[in-house]
């Protein structure tokens, strides 16, 4: 159980790092959204589930309830993160941020 929790947490940190690198490296706003919105939500869910498993390692009823609460955060992130991404995308569309396309790249 502890090893599974540790593995999940390390994987989550890896995806967080990928998300941040994506935010820094991608060329325009829309592509940055891909890295920011999604890598982050998966990473957050992985780390949160890992912490819930770690919390269950010394088993007791109150720890079980705390783990349920931690999983509730995961469910919340799972619903809220794509909604926020969608809202920001539509706002960018409205104010007319131009997307980066392949043609703009000088050959």
């Amino acid at each position: 159980m502890l090893w599974a929790a540790g593995f999940l947490i390390v994987a989550g940190i890896f995806f967080f790092a990928v998300g941040v690198l994506g935010v820094l490296r991608f060329p325009d706003f829309y592509t940055r959204l891909h890295a920011a919105g999604k890598c982050d939500s998966l990473a957050a869910v992985l780390v949160i589930v890992g912490i819930a498993l770690y919390n269950l390692a010394d088993f007791s009823p109150s720890n079980l309830l705390v783990s349920f609460k931690i999983l509730a955060i995961a469910a919340f992130v799972f619903i809220a993160s794509p909604t926020a991404t969608h809202a920001v995308t539509e706002a960018a569309l409205i104010i007319g941020v131009e997307p980066w396309t392949k043609k703009d790249e000088p050959q």
Binding site: A87, E90, L93
Partner: protein
């Protein structure tokens, strides 16, 4: 791209199916969480103020996802004003009652004279009552602040 922009511009600002549905499914849980934070104020972090902020945030979320009119349908301005005053009244009323019964302001052990439960129990119960009052007041003031700022005081069109 252009077609899409036109389409989004033509639509009224509250007409977003995705945001609406997600917010609709979340709000009851958020309200319950706010009440939980208020009620469990003396065992866990939080208490009246934080719970009130979460409760007010649920109404703000409703106004953001739909529009001001919808949030006014769930919580009318009159009810909101009454709730704010009731919250403050609970807080000062408890404090004054303690003072009238011979203690200091908000000295809950004085309430022991009404119903002898023991000063320790009265202290915990008194904190609970005061926190409920603070929570209600904070919720009402958060909501009405957002309504007034979001609509410029006109209350018909807004954020």
């Amino acid at each position: 791209m252009k077609l899409l922009q036109e389409r989004v511009k033509d639509r009224p600002a509250g007409e977003n199916l995705i945001i609406r549905t997600a917010v609709r499914l979340m709000i009851p849980f958020i309200q319950l969480y706010g009440l939980y934070v208020i009620v469990h104020g003396h065992y866990s972090p939080g208490g009246g103020f934080q719970g009130g902020v979460v409760l007010g945030a649920s109404f703000i979320l409703l106004a953001l996802a739909y529009d001001l009119r919808t949030s006014l349908r769930f919580m009318s301005e009159r009810v909101n004003a009454v709730l704010g005053n009731v919250g403050v009244l609970i807080y000062t009323g408890t404090g004054l009652l303690c003072a009238l019964l011979g203690g200091l302001f908000l000295d809950y052990s004085a309430l022991d004279r009404i119903l002898p439960l023991g000063p320790v129990e009265w202290r915990s119960l008194g904190i609970f009552v005061v926190e409920v009052g603070v929570g209600i007041a904070v919720m009402s003031i958060m909501t009405s602040l957002f309504w007034d700022l979001g609509s410029g005081g006109e209350m018909d069109e807004g954020l």
